[in-house]
Symmetry: C2
Subunit: 120 residues, 2 copies
Amino acid sequence: MQKVNFAEKFETFSEHWRPKIVGSFDDYDIKLVKVEGDFVWHKHDDIDEVFIVMDGELDIDFRDGRQTLGAGEMIVVPRGVEHKPHASRECRMMLLERKGVVNTGDAETSDLTAPENVRI
Amino acid sequence: MQKVNFAEKFETFSEHWRPKIVGSFDDYDIKLVKVEGDFVWHKHDDIDEVFIVMDGELDIDFRDGRQTLGAGEMIVVPRGVEHKPHASRECRMMLLERKGVVNTGDAETSDLTAPENVRI
């Protein structure tokens, strides 16, 4: 059992849209990710997804409007809800998701689709 | 679907050791809590528990030693592992736990046992 320091973990990678697992509990993973630019519209049919902004600013477009999150803000995207994240500048986030989730959800596999289960 | 600002949520309560639910995903709750002083030794037989320190410093005693977490640090306490949190000064944390968890686990109910399902 070892504590995790988020700042140290963020120093170990630089790619965008490639979540890294830094801890697990029950059937869930705690992931850190750096994002910048546009992601794709997608949804996850059977899981809720938690976005917690740690540094920077994240826009999430929904079909009925945009939410903008700053550091220290969180949103839970319920299952089945289409969303498209976007960050004008690099943004650092924590994600909480059930194990095995594909980041691009139901969208077609693309270069934004991240390898699963990368643990740092 | 509404974003949550953690600083604003922390302003709404002052008690210690009384976790407040600020969001839920699948069968899990995201809770904020302020702690100060000693908690009781306890364990949770069938859930893992995530502690994320947001402000201040948290000690967690385990039967084989102590871990000290500062802001931006996390630890996952696996199911069945006895632990006793302690904070010399007020510490603000996020907890991730399956719904319905009793904060004092298998320890005898006491004035440290928090009401469940308090949502802010």
